[in-house]
Subunit: 234 residues, 6 copies
């Protein structure tokens, strides 16, 4: 019997974390800018929404794969979290059950975890908002879960339609969530900063009434694509 | 011809209400705690969301079954409502039309109704928020409804995937909605209170850094389930 | 080769705008009232939600049809917008990508556009809320778009399941979005005002405890439809 | 501690079955006719689809409530099934996992069960079609389930949005699934037969070119409702 | 009071039909080819699926707008149908109820109607398949409808996300449904035929092993877009 | 500027293929058995459905990542396909457009490709069924696509919620689709064969009337979990 098939449930203790200042830079740039800076890659399914407004965080991913309706492995994951981490939870089949609530949030806060992204449900949202502990989830649901089935921590998971590995940079704000692979975090931050700078100038020009079709020089493209200007509808 | 088949539309006047202090206790415990206390039963579909934040209510259910796109029976239901009741509305086919708006909310408030749960749509949400009248609904929709088709009041309905009978305790807050059958309301309140007490101690331990895997004694279970700890990903 | 088939991408410059005072009246009446006043027509899919609370606007529609994942034509549309217009964007296939963000909002604001309705996604929502620029969209998504494919401006589009032509009156608030054809804008405003007046009296009667079944004289209808009143469930 | 709260998982052995000839009559009438005959009640969510074409069955319901991703209780249910029963399976949270496959179908066939209705997933559909064992399900999914969590057999469940109790008559064919409460099965069969007879005559008249507006005498209704006939669009 | 607002329900008797040979040509070309030939316009939501396989029809649209859960106006529409027409049905709010069944299909067949497209549900699908009467619908549902609410016939409707006017050419097959405005039917047929001819040659070249990147001369485009060929993953 | 960020679009020519006899073995075992044999991993979203019945294939994955509404990269992928490969297509944002049709299927067949799995739409399904070319897709849609935007071939993609790398074994049949990482293909085949053997014996026992609760020895588990047998509902 093949060992790889049998030993499918592991908790991996070591996470290749992203430097705190890089995470701070990515959080400051925000999800939409980071997504552009990485060549429009890594955005999670927009169905994963924040339960609060105004939060903007970035952390090194600690990933958790759970059986649906079962949050046992989230409890196992807390131990391997370090300050600055962000917990990423998915289930092996789709589920909206409330896998994280106030007690887990207290425990995660005590470890310095900066937030949670769940491809599943969250509960105790009034308490979480009061605590200021940010969560992005597919659903808000009072349905609690059992602690009965095995799973894994810090193996690569698919969450919100994106592959996420332990140690990837995950950025989350009001626009949603984006993942940047650990190996690209630095270069994406540089690209994000360049992008932010160029946007400052653009912002002023557009506010002054300049048109995007002129600023981005889109008129030749429109013409080439066969877009015709007419005074009245044909 | 069988009478049960013919007389399908009834308004039942009497509702076996839950005692006010029990309802107050359930509202205070909150939806997620009540759901756990009843053995993880009774949570409505998380697609039914509050239109406001911070409301936390419980009431005896007055149930309404409507034709889609028609709120005639909600008008019929108002008369049988008493202070402390919570209106539960469903349609015989899925609908997102706005079946309850400001005028009905004023009328329900005048009867002492504490809120509405709709497996359908709500409208006039700005006015309802200003009034402080809480609503949980599947959709917000400006589409008003006609008053043309028969239905029933206080017959058992399925709302948000749960069976609800007249007089059941319905609890609703930011986490969603849960129903507790009338016969179990007292015992579920006792179980909820026991649960809340035990959580106070847990909260302090977790805030102090104790791990859930230790507090809940999950390590033997993880081991038995074959979860293996490793330093590096395999 | 047929010209109608070939020249499918046009930007129509002229828009038959609705008078500013009519738009102001429709905005003041609100979406749900306007929908009723127009014979319960024109409400867009409730899946198009506001990203803010409390906004209530009306504008003459400037319509944009885009390729999914491509916002080139929105840039082309800005030039034909005038103060008081409302931008209506749709895609030729369903898409949730963030087609409008802060830069476009700045540009649209500079033109006097009062808001955007998107049958697609929006991004930079924290910035848009801070600017007070109102948007109704199917999704919030950080996924930016390319500027590569042709489309049309001010041709009739289907947005949120409703046909919208350039110059139609579009009203949007917390209840959603409704479109009123340009030719009916005046008469619908009259009907909306009549409706608002009649509601003032109703509001007072219902607050005083009068029942809707009496006020609307629904008891004969309930009887005719065979709805039977009983004390106990059958 | 309250017993009703604690003992939540039961297997009820006795099922009040519907007579075989009544079930045969309901199956022969078909789902849509039965639904009409019962006053347009009891139709399950159309998302529950047959995996085969042409099957038309009716059985006394044996109900099963499972934890999502866990089919332990289906195994427990087989023992209480008798010839002519139809298995109705639901989960406490939404799930599409394949809870029934070839082996369970063989076992159910050996007990004389006539089919399965699942508010969840089915697998081995090629084998089930080859066996001629009919299934209606929300999804086809290869994801098998564990056997780890408790649930109940023959307690009332909500399946496809309808309440179903053990012993209710469940009818299923290409149109979907309908449930008739045990107490109404006889009267609904009578009403269904009356309906079938009246349709034979209608079929001939319509085939001969008679219009429904004449046959059902709808012209006065259309007139009363304000429907106006015009030659050209207004 | 404005007449346009009041008289909202009309049955328009005259339909500007498309010539039979044009319809035959469009049906023969098929939905996907027609969609391409019209500049990739007019495809209805893929959620509208055929209940049969192998049908390929085209007809002049007779449009029907119904209240959800009410098929009264379909009965009114039959009278204005002529041989070669195709019935297009939509509801003012989303609905999956079975609005067309065997009896209506018999009646429509007697009028020479070639099929039905429903942005709603269909029932009696076994009987419809046996009759060979083709239907495309959003759902199969046994839930029948009432005949109580007004609507319109042959006014422009939105069906499956596309605007359809009476007399437009509607083509439907296993790929779904496409609408071609009446004014473009001839030119689209010409374009479809040209397309079919060009595909015959392409089919042979591709079957012979020629690559699409060569046949369509895509290599320069790939190069210009920055697509790089490598032997191993980076 | 970082090269990893800039060069985001690549076509990787080399694919680490799975041996033909292993693929044949996996196809023969079928999707549901393979899923179990790999520890219940790798099943794609059940929303990806076959357009035909009875097909059962396995191939080495050639992966394609496309812009929504654009199939340029599928054309680029054909060249790197070899006999026995299976094409896996995804889009960077959700799309149901028909990205593969008859012409591409002819071209892929000419290369020996055994089938296509699309997290998007397919068209020309009548022709594909006639050719016997199997496809699994999220939608059937006549909406064709443009050839304008870059993407990648043989980079890791997420398709139907699962990570798939070039050279992974993909198995597809009437139950859906499962992916097995290249490194586990051999061991999973062994486990699948062991499973098939054990099922033969179980099949006979269950057909003979033995109960699953006895055969799997589930009675002690049910007892331990607190499941109580009663004669009547409590």
């Amino acid at each position: 019997m093949n060992r790889a098939v049998v030993n499918r449930h592991v908790v991996v203790r070591r996470v290749p974390r992203v430097a705190a200042e890089v995470l701070a830079g990515l959080a400051s740039a925000g999800v939409s800018t980071v997504h552009e800076a990485d060549g429009r890659r890594g955005a999670l399914d927009p169905a994963l929404r924040p339960i609060q407004t105004g939060a903007r965080v970035a952390g090194s991913a600690v990933t958790v794969s759970c059986h649906p309706g079962d949050n046992l492995m989230i409890h196992a994951a807390v131990e391997v979290c370090a300050p600055g981490d962000l917990l990423v939870v998915t289930t092996t089949s789709p589920s909206t059950d409330g896998m994280v609530g106030e007690l887990l949030a207290i425990s995660l806060s005590a470890r310095g975890v900066v937030g949670v992204v769940l491809d599943a449900g969250v509960r105790d949202v009034a308490e979480l908002r009061a605590m200021g502990f940010p969560v992005w989830a597919r659903a808000v649901s009072p349905r609690g879960t059992v602690k009965a089935s095995p799973g894994s921590v810090n193996v690569p998971v698919v969450c919100g339609g994106q592959s996420i590995a332990a140690g990837d940079a995950v950025v989350a704000d009001d626009d949603g969530v984006v993942v940047v692979p650990h190996s690209r975090a630095n270069s994406v931050l540089s690209a994000a900063r360049a992008r932010l700078e160029s946007e400052t100038a653009k912002r002023a020009r557009l506010a002054g009434g300049e048109l995007g079709v002129d600023m981005y020089e889109l008129r030749p493209l429109l013409d080439k694509l066969g877009v015709v200007y007419v005074d009245e509808a044909p």
